[in-house]
Amino acid sequence: MNLFRSLAPMGLALALLLPAAAPALAQQGPLRIQITEGVIEPLPFAVPNFVAETSGASQLAQDMARVIAADLSGTGLFREIPASAHISRVTSFDAPIAYNDWKAINAQALITGSVSASGDRVVVKFRLHDVFSDQPLGEGLQFAGSASGWRRMAHKVADVAYSRITGEGGYFDSRVVFVSETGPKNARAKRLAVMDYDGANVQYLTDSSSIVLAPRFSPTGDRILFTSYSTGFPRIYLMDVGSLATRSLAEQPGTMTFAPRFAPDGRTVAFSLEQGGNTDIYTLDTASGTRRQLTNSPSIETAPSYSPDGSQIVFESDRSGGQQLYIMPAGGGEPRRISNGAGRYGTPVWSPRGDLIAFTKQHQGRFHIGVMRTDGSEERLLTASFLDEGPTWAPNGRVLMFTREGAGAGGQPALYSVDISGRNLKKVPLSVPASDPAWSPLLP
């Protein structure tokens, strides 16, 4: 020890004398800082009313700006700075932006635009600005369409803004098919209906003469699969959204078919078929009518959902005694169990991005919507209530919509959405009770 202490000054002197040792200790080059902690909060943005370039477009310009702001704010990732706080006014789409005025109110993103209407034709131009960089974020764009489709144009503007800021695909210009429910719990009238993702523009596809369940969009959004009790037994049907023409699939006397879902190719349908008290998973070629059995087990296999590449199917089965999730090759084969937690798992749905599987979980008297990786790891429960079930993915794989129903005879079903982080849980504004949502792909 003493030797060390006595030699330490010598070492110091040598270090001073030897230039070769200096680079090891001197601060060289730039100052280096590592940032590992940040904040997670909604990004403040501003959408001043769009400039009306024609006399009849002022209301439209105002409405479109409101829809864009609502779309972005509704994600939970953005926070709109109200117009009352704006310092500068945008009076011309091509006028230079006073970035300092927007910086002063902490607007980090700014969307400016203009709307012109000529007869039934509406043109909207817009530009996204990165305020603190003093420059536009990407090129300006414009959409044109009919006046009745102004909401879709606004959704598209919001999709572009969302995508440029977050780096993820948008999901605002999409629709959701669901089951509209009216009447008491023991005598519910159920109808198929579609709406914009935000609950606007509800349109009914069927009447309430028969019970309908589990509608599912095709990958192109032009057809809908659903289950109907019109014959007294559950049977799957295919509806063309444009004409509402409906036809039965997989008809076989003495059987029940349900839980259909399209394969990514849009041609094959996987579904459950009950025969003689046993339920297995089958596929059906909708063009040729060819049917193929994928599972053959005395247990109940149902709720199949394809992976985005169409190579695998996740489904629920009680073959191990409890209801759990399994994955098997799309052509059939030995399934492997992926859910390992306590409780019962059901209604698995593969994320459009392919990285996660959403599911319903029942555990200790509560229902949860959750997500896990495709190998069953990193399970996260996002919600908890008396009854949550039937998740469906937004086209970008970032948001889930599901059914929530309250307890008791008066408990009405409603649609809710939640971010996959578990934040931003909110009710979809609908005037009627609803269940069984299924999200469409992003509209063309």
Partner: protein, 416 residues
């Protein structure tokens, strides 16, 4: 070459290396420092004279008038005994009132006559301990898991939680600077009252509905943990037990009877640093300062010309880092961008503001190009937003922070 020359060369080279870097690789084993208390020698006659003087009531001594008015300090602060603290708990917030005087002199207390002569250890009439002293270390009952406070849901997730602002307060977008009266124009008659502003409520992690409604786990131990009994020791007898005493006086006496354990008499030293760390850091700092370098490991630096001037200290770096991270918002980043670490280089002005035009990405790891672009834009926003008023950097060391490279690693934020 001659084998002897080679061996000699290797030996000399090894010796030089050891002299240079031996401190880093072979940390000297310092003996734990001994607490030293200065004492003074006196004769028995002096001692007797002193003690006899102490036993006489000294009316001449002024009694501190503030003593009775002092609030009774909380026992945690005044008790100098190292009470076992098995459970790491959040310390209670500091009371606004001033700390009580630490260990006043025993003769200053109003009950000075009670101070008895120091007895011989063998005749000490110490009170019986509450429980027998255990022969072996007693197990301490602790909860199975850390009783951390459950985070509350809040729209903002930040490194440090912030309470919800009062309902009447508005969350300020930006701090409102004080408005100076314009000498040219007369001051307005009516001053509009601004509502109070408060920072936005923040939590430290995302709280989902599931975790929010989860039942709180029973963290408490099944039986109460008894404090360990201090070994029996000599203690002054209570000579005047009949006389009532204010609470502060008895505490004063306790403190006076155990002078060796008074924290104030121990050498002050940061708890996190051992003497050995202290020494090695001191040597390292001295070397770094002599060579004009910082305290970062050498492996983190590229080979470039050394800068002159004193190095930026760790505290200054921390202040810089904290200033940037409070503006680094990763909430709107895609999953890919959250898996991408980007390194951003920039030039700084002497007033501490970044040159926005110089901010550029020099490296990205772990993600796609699109993810790197999003991550870089978020990093640039953070630097520009929080650098508007200048970062807290020492102007005299401008040469050290003229060029800055910042690595933004969001991997820890992904799991929030």
């Amino acid at each position: 070459m001659d084998k002897g020359v080679i061996i000699s060369g290797i030996g000399h080279f090894s010796l030089i290396l050891w002299l240079l870097f031996g401190d880093w690789f072979f940390q000297p084993q310092h003996a734990p420092e001994v607490a030293v208390t200065s004492v003074s020698l006196m004769t028995s006659a002096e001692f007797d004279a002193m003690t006899s003087a102490a036993t006489q009531p000294s009316e001449q001594r002024p009694t501190p008038s503030v003593e009775p008015e002092q609030p009774a300090p909380p026992p945690e602060e005044a008790a100098p005994a190292p009470a076992p603290a098995p459970v790491a708990e959040t310390p209670p917030p500091l009371a606004p009132e001033p700390r009580p005087e630490p260990a006043p002199q025993p003769d200053a207390a109003p009950t000075a006559p009670e101070i008895a002569p120091v007895p011989e250890p063998e005749i000490a009439e110490a009170p019986e301990p509450l429980a027998p002293v255990a022969e072996v270390e007693q197990p301490i009952l602790v909860p199975q898991s850390s009783p951390r406070p459950k985070p509350k849901p809040a729209p903002r997730v930040a490194p440090t939680p912030a309470p919800a602002p009062p309902p009447e307060a508005e969350v300020a977008e930006v701090p409102t600077p004080p408005v100076a009266p314009d000498p040219q124009t007369p001051a307005p008659e009516v001053v509009e009252e601004k509502p109070p502003a408060a920072p936005e409520e923040a939590t430290t992690e995302i709280v989902t509905e599931t975790t929010e409604t989860e039942e709180v786990a029973q963290l408490a131990p099944t039986s109460s943990a008894r404090p360990k009994v201090r070994p029996q020791r000599a203690r002054a007898p209570e000579p005047a037990a009949e006389e009532p005493r204010p609470a502060s006086t008895s505490r004063t006496e306790t403190a006076a009877a155990e002078p060796a354990e008074t924290p104030a008499e121990r050498p002050e030293r940061p708890a996190a640093e051992t003497p050995r760390q202290n020494d090695s850091r001191a040597v390292e700092d001295a070397l770094a300062e002599a060579l004009g370098g910082g305290t970062e490991p050498a492996s983190e630096r590229p080979s470039a010309p050394a800068r002159s001037g004193p190095p930026v200290t760790s505290g200054e770096k921390d202040a810089f880092r904290i200033a940037v991270q409070q503006c680094w918002n990763v909430g709107a980043l895609s999953t890919e961008a959250l898996a991408t670490t980007v390194t951003v280089a920039m030039s700084m002005r002497q007033d501490g503001t970044p040159d926005a035009g110089s901010i550029r990405m020099i490296e990205s790891r772990g993600g796609t190009d699109a993810g790197a672009r999003q991550a870089f834009e978020a990093a640039r926003r953070a630097i520009i937003r929080c650098g508007t008023r200048g970062f807290p950097l020492p102007p005299e060391k401008y040469d050290q922070w003229r060029e800055v490279e910042m690595e933004f690693d969001p991997n820890g934020m992904r799991m929030k």
